[in-house]
């Protein structure tokens, strides 16, 4: 069997059966054994039942993408097998309890009585430990790291629980070793060349760490998948880091509370998904006219409306780009990796504060829930510079300045008073219908777009400068494009990954000149391709799109790019 550089393990089962726990444990244990790992999840919008799966990849280099192929599949029930059947290939070895399956599947599946072993160890709750043990046995790895892991996890529950988990792991392990031998499962793992002290980080936690580093002070939000994780990340750490976490009564309240907090001097954040963000549109416009800093995280999922609540898509670019009535400036960032999430979240707060504009951070379910590996050197901490001024007694919030940005005072800090207004206003912040002032204020608010373009994060080039074709991608598709290019080994194809999608960097037109432009995005129409066209005048020669609710798989991107620009 060709299991050399890239092993894909998949666990399938119903919600509540613990496949996530198994995957979490295994990915950590594999990392601690020095392997490069990646994991991602797909799940149904229900709390119990249904059919979900987790993938863990063991790769020769750090990867950040989903693959369709499955080398070892562990399913906990027949439904999971059906759910994943389309991904089962000749090379897939399947483990499941025969009792769970129909007659026709049993011949193809290695009978894996996890529950029986768990019962032997004392109780069915130990099934997860049996499963992880079994995988380690099949992979031919040792059990030590996992035993350590279990000792740490269950330390608080006492020696007996730890001991029984160790027993369960051993029973699973012995089964795994035996199965590998009997069924001639011959796996050569990639070299374990990673530092076991590396970090395993999901996109959500990356954003959370970035928000902590940025000194976020207030977060007000209403739960909505897949964005809720950021709210719970900050809630869990709020007291320690002085972050006030408010669960708002609705998204309209959330954005207005965040703006109230921003006005009063806190760095503030809302986290939501497309539907919730749609309710915030008027608030975005309020941020625009009041010139208040605000960071808006949108964890995208497929729409329209409720769509596929737990699935992934990059379908809200246009929404974020155009939400809010009237003309004003905004910035849209789209991290492609957890490390970028850390950095760009800080950047979002910094730009919001220095330019007094709303800044969006666009992610999606795939990016938020995927766990990838990174070293400490990849964690970038930007200087935290607050830009609030102490007001004098003659302070005016909207004083005209050369660059259109007025020094930002906040109430109760200095001798002045601070008036902000959703109406068109004069320099003092009082409403006005004077057309001359209106003209100047419109100009003031838009003037900063020039500097924002110059300061835009330039796209990252992956591959050769001279390649004739450029795959343009943004946000979460970075990993899959990078890996596909590595597989293709074609000097004529390179990629440009955008982690800032608006405004686009001024030098962009030049980068596309003379190239064939292939835009790849996880939506149905090519929203970024349209934006690129609008900004640079350059039509994409080809669009590779996907809007099924799943992320792109490496295999399909390879397949699509093999055809080059023509197909």
């Amino acid at each position: 069997m060709l299991h050399q550089d890239d092993i894909s393990l998949v666990f399938g089962g119903a919600a509540g059966q613990g496949i996530q726990t198994i995957a979490d444990a295994l990915v950590t244990v594999l990392k601690n054994n020095g392997y490069a790992v990646f994991s991602c999840q797909e799940f149904m919008s229900r709390v119990r039942g249904g059919s979900n799966s987790s993938q863990i990849r063991i790769t020769s280099e750090r990867r950040n993408a989903y693959v369709r192929k499955i080398d070892l599949l562990f399913v906990l029930d027949a439904e999971a097998l059906d759910h994943l059947r389309w991904r089962i290939g000749e090379g897939t070895t399947i483990f499941a309890e025969h009792d769970q399956l129909g007659e026709e599947d049993r011949g193809r599946v290695i009978d894996t009585p996890l529950k029986e072993f768990a019962q032997k160890a004392g109780h069915p709750v130990y099934t997860n430990s049996v499963a992880v043990g079994a995988v380690l046995g099949v992979l031919g790895l040792g059990l030590e790291e996992f035993n350590d892991y279990l000792s740490r996890e269950f330390e608080s529950k006492g020696e007996e629980v730890v001991g029984r988990n160790h027993d369960a792991a051993r029973l699973g392990y012995e089964f795994g070793v035996k199965s590998a031998r009997e069924h001639h499962i011959d796996i050569t793992l990639p070299t374990a060349a990673e530092d076991p002290a590396s970090l395993l980080l999901d996109g959500t936690s990356g954003l959370g760490i970035g928000a902590l580093m940025a000194g976020c002070g207030v977060v007000s939000s209403y739960p909505m998948s897949p964005s809720t994780g950021l709210l719970t990340f900050l809630a869990a750490r709020g007291r320690r880091f002085g972050i006030v976490v408010d669960q708002a009564e609705d998204e309209i309240a959330a954005v207005n509370a965040a703006l109230g907090a921003s006005y009063a001097g806190a760095r503030s954040l809302v986290t939501t998904s497309g539907g919730g963000f749609a309710l915030m549109s008027e608030g975005v416009s309020l941020a625009g006219v009041t010139e208040l800093p605000l960071v808006i995280h949108i964890g995208q999922r497929p729409g329209p409306a409720t769509g596929l609540p737990t699935r992934t898509e990059q379908g809200d670019l246009n929404l974020a780009l155009h939400a809010g009535h009237g003309d004003f400036c905004r910035v849209l960032l789209a991290p492609g990796t957890p490390a970028q999430a850390i950095k760009l979240m800080q950047r979002a707060f910094d730009i919001a504060e220095s330019y007094q504009v709303p800044v969006f951070v666009l992610t999606d379910q795939f990016m938020l829930d995927s766990v990838s590996m990174l070293g400490d050197e990849e964690i970038v901490r930007l200087p935290l510079q607050r830009r609030v001024v102490k007001t004098g007694s003659d302070y005016e919030r909207y004083r005209f300045t050369d660059d259109g940005i007025s020094p930002r005072g906040v109430p109760g800090y200095g001798e002045g008073i601070v008036k902000v207004d959703s109406h068109e206003h004069d320099e003092s912040g009082h409403l006005t219908e004077n057309f001359t002032i209106r003209r100047k204020m419109v100009g003031k608010r838009l003037q900063r777009l020039g500097s924002l373009e110059q300061e835009a994060v330039p796209p990252e080039r992956i591959g050769s400068d001279d390649a004739a074709a450029l795959v343009v991608c943004w946000g979460s598709t970075r990993g899959v494009v990078e890996e596909a290019l590595d597989i293709l080994q074609d000097d004529n194809i390179a990629a440009l990954h955008f982690s800032q999608v608006f405004p686009l960097h001024t030098g962009l037109g030049g980068m596309l000149e003379g190239k064939q432009v292939i835009v790849l995005e996880n939506n149905a129409t090519g929203q970024f391709a349209d934006l690129l066209h609008a900004v640079t005048g350059r039509q994409a020669d080809r669009r590779i799109l996907k809007a099924t609710g799943e992320p792109f798989a490496v295999e399909e991107v390879v397949e699509a790019l093999k055809g080059g620009v023509a197909s």
């Binding site: 320690r240 408010d246 309240a253 703006l259 806190a266 009041t290 109430p411």
Partner: protein
């Protein structure tokens, strides 16, 4: 920081300001009562934020020399909450019309009361949408005809006091714009109260509400006297349900409840140099190893 006090002048005045209200509007009297109450309460105008929505009433902070967040229609309360969460040290007043607070912002009204942040909520209740020229508001009386409600208002009016009391609002009062001194006194009590205080103020709209005039209000209202036990919530609810004789004054007050910002442990936001706990940050990062 104390401002030099000129004995007579009110520091909250903005004499040069052109007003956008119709002559005779009840809003002028509410504005005067508010500025009087703020001044007499010894509040420093630099530490006061008045948050409002949109409407005629919501223009009030435009005419007060203090910090102002004049936000969106219906959204005064969440913005006020945000101010309080970021800066619990500031005095926060949320002020708007009946349409803004009870209609567009109705959900926020419910939850602002449940949260009990230390915010003084003042609602100019003219029982009509003034700014948009006379449509029914949630508090319009049944039968009032308007350009939209051409056959007369059909819905029973929203009862803000009964709703506030049933949600456990710890300070509930009603004032009447025509009575300047009493209104000022009620505002002073509301400002001094720790927790959410709700003051519904009857306000004649002399242009669009020909039903609820100064005269109508004085004929249909009475002031609660010292025999009223302000700590008796059941009695307060009973009074709030009487739609014939409309009580004025403080219906209910209950001291001592912790505020939302206290429960959350909110501290004033860092404004100058912000220091982060590096060790704790590293600890968070290490938890992902």
């Amino acid at each position: 920081m104390k401002e030099g006090k000129k004995q007579t002048a009110n520091p909250f005045d903005m004499p040069q300001k052109k007003m956008g209200w119709c002559p005779g509007c009840g809003n002028y009297r509410i504005l005067d009562a508010l500025k009087g109450a703020l001044h007499e309460s010894g509040i420093d105008r630099r530490e006061l934020v008045i948050v409002s929505g949109i409407g005629q009433a919501a223009k009030t902070p435009q005419y007060v020399n203090a910090n102002m967040f004049n936000g969106l229609h219906g959204r005064a309360l969440p913005a006020a909450l945000g101010v309080k969460l970021a800066r619990p040290d500031l005095v926060v007043v949320a002020e708007s019309g009946d349409g803004c607070m009870y209609g567009e912002g109705g959900n926020h009204f419910l939850h602002a009361i449940r949260r009990n942040a230390d915010i003084t909520v003042i609602v100019h209740n003219n029982m009509v949408y003034g700014l948009t020229k006379g449509q029914a508001s949630p508090t319009s009386m049944v039968g009032m005809t308007t350009p939209v409600q051409v056959e007369g208002v059909m819905l029973e009016p929203f009862n803000p006091l009964a709703v506030a009391l049933s949600l456990g609002a710890p300070f509930v009062a009603r004032a009447s714009a025509g009575d300047g001194d009493q209104t000022k006194d009620i505002f002073k009590q509301a400002l001094a109260f720790k927790g959410v205080s709700v003051v519904d103020v009857f306000q004649p709209c002399v242009v669009f509400n020909k039903l609820n005039t100064y005269k109508w209000f004085s004929e249909h209202t009475f002031y609660l006297d010292s025999s009223h036990d302000v700590t008796d919530r059941t009695q307060a609810i009973r009074i709030s349900l009487d739609s014939e004789r409309l009580a004025l004054g403080v219906l209910y007050r209950h001291e001592g409840r912790e505020t939302y910002e206290e429960l959350l442990g909110a501290e004033p936001a860092a404004l100058g140099e912000q220091r982060l706990a590096d060790d704790e940050l590293q600890e968070v990062i290490n938890s992902f190893r």
